[in-house]
Point group: none
């Protein structure tokens, strides 16, 4: 998964921004249309999206809500449109910020840094007696160390990161596995099952890793 997905049709600006952010150590993908943005995001995901509103195909707002359907990845809208209505619209759609063009690239960087720090630089994730140490990828359950396989760890981390929130199976799958084949959703079930065993959770009476019927799973 790349750190930052840039959706910007101004090629020059896009390249500039991409290079700049790369020089700051982020991995960056850039696309020039809404269509491609959604495509790329659904396939590979991203940790943060910088989204222009005026795009050749879809409207940026449409992209925003499309992305928001599954993920709550931070979205920074960047636009030359300065109307109040546009801003409210963007924020209502779940954008984390609405930055007017032209913007100062250092300010943008500061905001991006802030979001990454708040959002991703946690070294520990914990909830309901489960603690994940993201640095050394160890896990503790009710104070006891537990061995988690890589996929299990990632899956649990994702769930705990969004604790309390019901996550769609498709979303979970695309986050961990990246693409979406059909029958392979089954795989997710298997992994959930294995996780539950290690968590000591009985699905019929799960205390932590709950099934949300018709939707997916949530960690509480």
């Amino acid at each position: 998964m790349t750190d930052i997905l840039i959706v910007e049709d101004d090629k020059e600006l896009s390249v500039l921004l991409t290079d700049f952010l790369r020089s700051e150590g982020y991995t960056v993908s850039a696309v020039e249309s809404g269509e491609r943005a959604v495509q790329l995001f659904e396939r590979y995901g991203a940790r943060l999206v910088v989204l222009d509103i005026n795009l050749p195909d879809m409207n940026g707002f449409a992209v925003c809500s499309k992305l928001r359907e599954n993920a709550d990845t931070p979205i920074l809208i960047v636009s030359a449109r300065t109307d109040k209505e546009d801003k409210l619209n963007g924020l209502d759609l779940g954008a984390d910020d609405y930055i007017e063009k032209p913007y100062d690239i250092d300010i943008l960087l500061a905001k991006i840094k802030g979001i990454f720090k708040r959002r991703y630089q946690r070294s520990m994730l914990s909830a309901s007696g489960v603690t994940l140490n993201l640095a050394d990828r160890t896990a503790e359950i009710d104070g006891r160390p537990v061995e988690l396989a890589a996929k299990e760890f990632d899956l649990l981390a994702l769930l705990i990161e969004n604790q309390g929130k019901a996550l769609k199976k498709e979303y979970l799958f695309s986050c961990i596995w990246g693409s979406d084949s059909d029958s392979e959703l089954q795989t997710l079930h298997v992994h959930i099952n294995r996780l539950r065993q290690k968590l000591g959770d009985d699905p019929k009476n799960a205390r932590r890793l709950l099934t949300v019927w018709g939707v997916g799973y949530k960690f509480v």
Copy 2:
């Protein structure tokens, strides 16, 4: 713990903002100095801080870093100082946003709402004692948790979203089921029926989910 702590020495502005946010359902405390802000925060905490930079005593930046020492409560800096340096400074200190004065109060609200939603998963729909938490797809009726099946949840959410408004059966059906077959409208009746049972609503004397004869249903 109050939802929002306002740190602002302009009394008029402070009162305006306080009233406005209260009318939006937040609990609000307001202070006029950095000293008091830190004091109050350490004593009672807050879920979000709106922080002015120009304060009579301490500098707002100092307040910001002071608050950050212990808590990672979201901080929105609001200031008449528009220098790039100030903004960078604020963001580096861990502020979630730096909003220039004069600001539009609706934009501020939108940002606050966004933070509450992202951070505290407060994205609720509620009416007449029924509360749906869209994030984790749980429901409460008169304070009691209730299990709703996927279709039931979606249907109720749609009705509450448009509360007070009579929705045509065909509309409801196409929203939830997507297509529109004829005889299957009956299905909607069945689901409404189940919802009413869970809501404790007797159709003859419904208090919440009303039948609008010849049209459809409405939630009041």
